[in-house]
Subunit: 405 residues, 2 copies
């Protein structure tokens, strides 16, 4: 089927019945342009948090299968209400749960990964002239048990649907106008980007820009899904994420700041092959994402390894490192908070040496001590004191002239 647009509306966009009516009007406007529309919705406002609280009133450690059963109701409420709103405006519409669409996942509850999506039901409903509203964030496993996709789940549902439906456009409607050169709450003259590459977006997403979840960007990149991030509160054009010409002249596209970091260090490991493997495989098995890995040999011929993790993983990572550290006969394990990761991202960087040096110079100019540095082809990240992070972002934004992008 041609001419399919997949849209996603986040929780704030459907937080009240008034907002739902306004979203319904917007969707109908698009339908009148002759498009076949599939809409993915998240749970209303804080519903997911409220349901999680309810579960924690029962038990501090709810079984993940039952937590998924509970949380999936949030999106089911949204799709039903949005479908009612669209129908009340005279447009034929149908809501579908993940089970009804056939969004299959593995059975890792609370952070399942999509394995397959059936398109028959959606295509059939579109062919009958209906707008199709799909519950984001949820799936079913091979036993027909309800799963949820974890953080960024609705974005992932949306991009995956756009991919299997071969949609012309995948729009993520959110509470911001698009992707900015920096967080406008930190840098007042931050500029909205008209376009950005998947790779840049992925780095920005990973680095805490929070507009799009990295999983969904990765998926869009992998399957070449054209993505647009735009506001659900106005009609202005957002930011298009595509495979742009890398020679577009922009060296740095944005500055990102992530305050959700804890630095972990394992010191004085007797040097042996497999040290890093042993540490990071165990963390990964527990679903702990690790970032900014730095490994060094000390003068005594021992190995020091440092890396960053999300704050919420601190206690679990602590027990894992204690166990692994013991096996590796390390001299010490340390965790450090009060840090933030500041990064510059740009696909043009690859052809412009000296960008990293310019960043270090700027941070030095602010008297900022850099705890860790990691680099990739299109980004440089520095771990700095949290209380200096915003000053660093503002300074870098100016140094790379991003307000005039």
């Amino acid at each position: 089927m041609d001419n399919i647009t997949v849209q996603k509306y986040g929780g704030t966009s459907v937080a009240t019945t008034e907002r739902i009516m306004s979203v319904a009007n917007r969707i109908i406007g698009l339908k009148r342009q002759g498009k076949n529309i599939v809409v993915v919705v998240s749970a209303m406002g804080d519903t997911t948090d409220d349901l999680t609280d309810l579960a924690h009133q029962i038990t501090p450690d709810p079984p993940s299968r039952e937590l998924d059963m509970l949380l999936a109701t949030g999106e089911q409420v949204s799709i039903a209400l949005l479908a009612m709103a669209i129908k009340s405006l005279g447009q034929d519409v149908i809501s579908l749960t993940a089970s009804q669409v056939g969004i299959y996942t593995d059975n890792i509850h609370t952070r399942a990964r999509i394995t397959d999506i059936k398109t028959e039901r959606i295509i059939k409903e579109l062919e009958e002239g209906r707008i199709v509203i799909v519950a984001g964030f949820q799936g079913i496993d091979e036993y027909n048990d309800v799963t949820t996709l974890g953080r960024g789940g609705s974005d992932t549902t949306t991009v995956a649907l756009a991919s299997v439906l071969q949609a012309d456009m995948c729009e993520i409607l959110t509470d911001v106008d698009g992707v900015y050169t920096a967080d406008p709450r930190i840098v007042s003259n931050a500029a909205k980007l008209d376009n950005i590459t998947y790779e840049e977006m992925l780095e920005l997403a990973t680095l805490g820009a929070k507009v799009l979840h990295p999983r969904s960007v990765e998926l869009a990149w992998q399957y070449g899904v054209p993505l647009m991030v735009r506001s659900s509160f106005n009609e202005s054009e957002g930011t298009v994420v595509t495979n742009m010409d890398l020679e577009n002249g922009r060296v740095v596209s944005g500055v990102a700041c992530d305050k959700d970091v804890t630095k972990a260090s394992v010191y004085g490991i007797p040097s042996k092959a497999g040290t890093a493997y042993k540490i990071f495989s165990r963390l990964s098995e527990s679903g702990i994402d690790v970032d900014m890995i730095v490994q060094n040999m000390t003068r005594e011929g021992k190995t020091d390894i440092s890396f960053t993790i999300a704050k919420e993983d601190l206690s679990e990572a602590g027990s894992i490192l204690k166990a692994v550290g013991g096996q590796l006969d390390c001299e010490g394990i340390e965790f450090e908070n009060g840090l933030a990761k500041v990064s510059i991202v740009g696909a043009g960087m690859i052809n412009h040496p000296g960008v990293a040096a310019k960043m270090f110079e700027a941070l030095y100019g602010l008297g900022i001590n850099i705890e860790l540095i990691t680099t990739s082809d299109i980004k440089v990240s520095c771990l700095v004191a949290e209380d200096m992070a915003e000053a660093a972002v503002t300074k870098l934004h100016g140094v790379f002239d991003l307000q005039n992008i």
Copy 2:
């Protein structure tokens, strides 16, 4: 599989997380007696009403398919929380939606009827030693669309499950201790019945005793499911509903009162065959339940038909009667509110003539005018002024000596 007990906990029994924990403890106690347990739960407290309100904020007339999609989330929340509670007490358990069990219905949304229930998944989970928690009130149709069963839906789910699983006992746990000879809020010395026949229970259910929905009683009767109504707040024995020996000496078992009645009358219909058929088939097609039908010939040779309906069906019945009445060339249609139906029920009545006369005498003694009378083998119902209904119930309870049953 042998030794299966099916229990149902209503909305008040799971209204808070504390109540859910207490229900979980009770279920585990039963499990320790070696039983295979299937539990049906309703939505927490006022959830269904709250969701309906949300729908009405969107549109005064929500499409029924989407309303079912919305309402079904209420039970899904309950089953997940109850399963978490049971699991947190160390007992293996699994929650299942109607879709996961395979509770199939027709596609009449908001008042679907169960057509088939698969037992494979439930039996498999029971065989693995789990308690199985099933969402009441909901089903799926042949297209995997979510349906709800309408009033008394969770009771119906429970009895239907007990039937297909050939359960030893089907317990309806509610906020009252059992079935009483009259509503204890009206008659202070009303007595709890230890047992009652399906037929009596069906009449009492239909007549507004509200303990059990008539659909579920009908189903239990039809399939011989042994039913017990008891309190979820204490362990006292409730009322067993079975095929008792009819010669148990009780003439009248209870007095019921239903205030949810509107009297409808169609006057002066030229007498022709098919009049009643035309009126009641049209009402029935619209799902309007009709009760207490009285038809009479006037001295002029015309037909008057009166009957009662639920108050909420008034406006829909009005339009139907207007259309049908026009075709039948009737002289007038009237609706009357402010009425209540008072009934005496008892399987022993069939062998004791004069019971009806004793009832009419008691009402006459209170100066009550009777608007309509209908009788069956085991009940007599009188439509009286609503403000006299409670006095009538109390008087009849005494006249038939029910406090000493």
